[in-house]
């Protein structure tokens, strides 16, 4: 049962006659020749309802082009399945540290999430709170803009301030500035040990205070999430086994005023993928606020269920269809994205910022042919 999803995913998978370029040059020629509009499709696991146009698939722009474990770098073409990247990294005991989420359960879609789709949506999971977002690990991009120009920015080295950082601009641009053809990442070593502590019975505001206490300690928690439905607050520690054991003990002591912690089998994939909302009817919102505003805001939005990640900085809310979460936010600083449901996907920006964003889109896609209308 997937109530509000806007369209069946099959509509977004490449069709027989869809555009499936096999090289950057071919892609450039196709874009130059098209009158548009074009709908960029990676794995199609997160279709966006309002986008119309011919499907442009990145499926044939696939493959890892470089993995240098000693330099912690990986370069891959945009259509490469995330699963392939994770498997390759695993052979060297490495991983994508920002923990990209798998949307298939929540969205009721099938298909293979691609690394280009992850970058286009700047997808980051629970570890974002300690190590940073997808954009923080992205070292370089290659893309073809809306006029067919082939452009590169950044590179494959960890420190690079040569010219403007268009890499960040493209992370989370949802394909509105260009079609990504290749992305390069800083990757991190996988860890020897992981453990999760849980506190139970806390109300939302108290849970957020507990999460803040952990995040404000030197003991390096790498995931802090609260699920009000079960009244469970989770704290994840990762690293070398002895260090994890030591820090778990210290975190327990630190959290004593909030109750006794228990060792649990933390299901961070479920937290990451918000599987608790999968198959439940209603709109799904993803709200970014500062943690200390989160509990009060949750009360105001009239959700059927909420889940907190990032120490409270990220609220996932399952709301009755048509709920206006943004109106409820009022002056609370932050933004709300409608991940599942019919309505405006992205939080409207203040006029001066909207003008800049519109200006940038007009420069990179002067004819307005790429993913037109996704971001406004």
């Amino acid at each position: 049962m997937h109530p509000s999803p806007v369209a069946s995913h099959s509509q977004f998978l490449p069709k027989e006659n869809s555009m499936t370029p096999t090289s950057e040059l071919e892609l450039s020629d196709m874009i130059k020749a098209t009158k548009g509009p074009l709908r960029i499709v990676g794995g199609g696991t997160r279709p966006i309802g309002r986008v119309v146009g011919e499907a442009l698939s990145t499926a044939a722009l696939s493959g890892i082009t470089l993995h240098e474990p000693g330099a912690l770098t990986l370069v891959a073409r945009a259509g490469t399945p995330v699963a392939e990247i994770e498997a390759t990294l695993a052979t060297q005991n490495q991983r994508l540290a920002f923990e990209p989420m798998d949307h298939r359960a929540l969205m009721g879609t099938t298909g293979q999430p691609t690394i280009g789709g992850v970058v286009a949506a700047n997808v980051s999971g629970p570890r974002r709170i300690s190590v940073g977002a997808c954009r923080d690990f992205l070292l370089g991009v290659r893309f073809v803009d809306g006029a067919g120009n082939i452009v590169k920015n950044g590179g494959r080295v960890m420190k690079n301030v040569t010219g403007y950082d268009l890499v960040k601009l493209f992370a989370g641009a949802y394909g509105t500035l260009g079609v990504l053809t290749e992305v390069s990442f800083k990757v991190l070593p996988a860890v020897e040990a992981e453990t999760t502590l849980a506190l139970s019975g806390l109300d939302d505001a108290t849970a957020i205070r507990a999460m803040s206490a952990a995040l404000g300690s030197p003991f390096e928690v790498t995931g802090v999430a609260h699920d009000p439905a079960q009244a469970l607050t989770h704290f994840r520690l990762e690293g070398f086994a002895a260090s994890v054991a030591y820090r778990a003990k210290e975190i327990s002591k630190l959290l004593a005023p909030f109750g006794a912690t228990q060792d649990t089998q933390g299901d961070w994939a479920a937290i990451r993928d918000v599987t608790a909302f999968a198959g439940k009817s209603g709109d799904v919102w993803r709200i970014s606020v500062k943690p200390s505003d989160a509990a009060a805001l949750s009360e105001k939005i009239g959700a059927d269920a909420v889940q907190y990640d990032w120490g409270g900085g990220l609220i996932w809310a399952l709301c009755p269809v048509g709920t206006d979460v943004r109106a409820a936010m009022g002056n609370t600083a932050g933004h709300a994205t409608l991940i599942r449901g019919a309505g405006q996907t992205f939080h409207p920006e203040p006029a001066p910022l909207a003008a800049i964003s519109t200006g940038l889109r007009a420069k990179f896609d002067p004819r307005g042919v790429l993913n037109t209308g996704i971001m406004g």
Binding site: M158, V167, G172, A242
Partner: protein, 477 residues
Amino acid sequence: MQMPIPDASVIDRKDQIVARLLAVLPKTAVIADVVETRAYECDGLTAYRCPPMCAVLPTTTDEVAAVLRICHEMDVPVVPRGSGTSLAGGALPTADCVILGVAKMNGVIETNYDDRYIRVQTGRTNLSVTGAVEADGFFYAPDPSSQLACAIAGNIAMNSGGAHCLKYGVTTNNLMGVTMVMMDGTVVEIGGAHMDAGGLDLLGVICGSEGQLGVVTEATLRILPKPEGARPVLMGYDSSEVAGQVVTDIIKAGVLPVAIEFMDRPCIEATENFAHAGYPMCEALLIVEVEGSDAEIDAQLALIMKIAAKHNPVELREAKDADEAGRIWLGRKSAFGAMGQINDYMCLDGTIPVSELPYVLRRISEMSKEFGLDVGNVFHAGDGNMHPLILFDANKEGDLELCEEFGAEILKLCVEVGGCLTGEHGVGIEKRDLMHVQFSKADLEAQMAVKDVFDPKWLLNAAKVFPLDASEPRRVA
């Protein structure tokens, strides 16, 4: 170094412009006297100097907006300035410009430990941001060596790094929001205490834009709890190949040190003569620092020492206490000063893939012989950010030019092996004309298109970053 011909039609209107500025700023905040403007004639790249037409030192965002509105209306170029420590000439004035210095705007606006951020005015120095929170057990992670002097304004504009960014990232990874004044005087708020952008990641492109997109007046910065402790080890090797392999092996082993610093023989010799840190005389010296509790540090260092020992070190020294730790860092921290004792030097900043380290070091020493100029290498090895220091004599005819030529060859080499021209210092004027080496015409057009949107008249710091021939159609339009 070529600079655009100053616009006489601006300089001719100096009196009018100054009068307008005086109408929106206190008298002491406008510096128009030709002697006093000399204080702003250069930044850390002292080889190039040019006093500005005038300088202003506003104290509020509103004053900044008022200044920019006037300059926009009167078509006056503006060069933003923090503390003037740029090594790339980023804050170098043009003769027809207004220097807009934010040094007087150095307050703390808000600290929030629950949500782990601090909001400051951008004239505040990097070190005093940490100073404002360290009593409460927090710190601001990016730590450029210039942190005592440089301002958050310049850090944001250059996306500055530091010795500890292997673990904590550079400025862009620790910047959450800014208040910025656009060239036309519009004040925009971007990001804030919450995470990630709602729309396009404008913050990401503003960071590192070298003062060309707007004047940043306030910033929200991520602060972190201080680690329980930190400790370095020192290791010496007979060849840079082996040292490079040690770096790779440590990284592959899954330890994430906060810093891995590298020095070569010329640099070791210079610092030994200067600081007497007791370093071994060898081809390559590494300093590796890890953090955590005492037991965690012991465990990580044991692993690192095991890897280090496998590669036949000439010396392996673990700091037992703060005193020994201080001595291990002493030489590294005085490296620039030590090289400066020998002669004038130019500090390069290219980054290379770590695997190319031995090859690049070998090529640099070969080129050093060809050019007849000595080079010392000291750099952040963990992330491949090199700092070759080329020695030259500023008083010797043609030596600066020779040194610049040599520097350009090294940077071209960095790009050739898959790296870039600058890892943390920025392009400024210094690497401006080498941008063609790294970028195609389309690559540069895409970047300049961003400036077109933020600053359509190309009034903000326009003679920097982009090769003059590439930016000319826009600058003179």
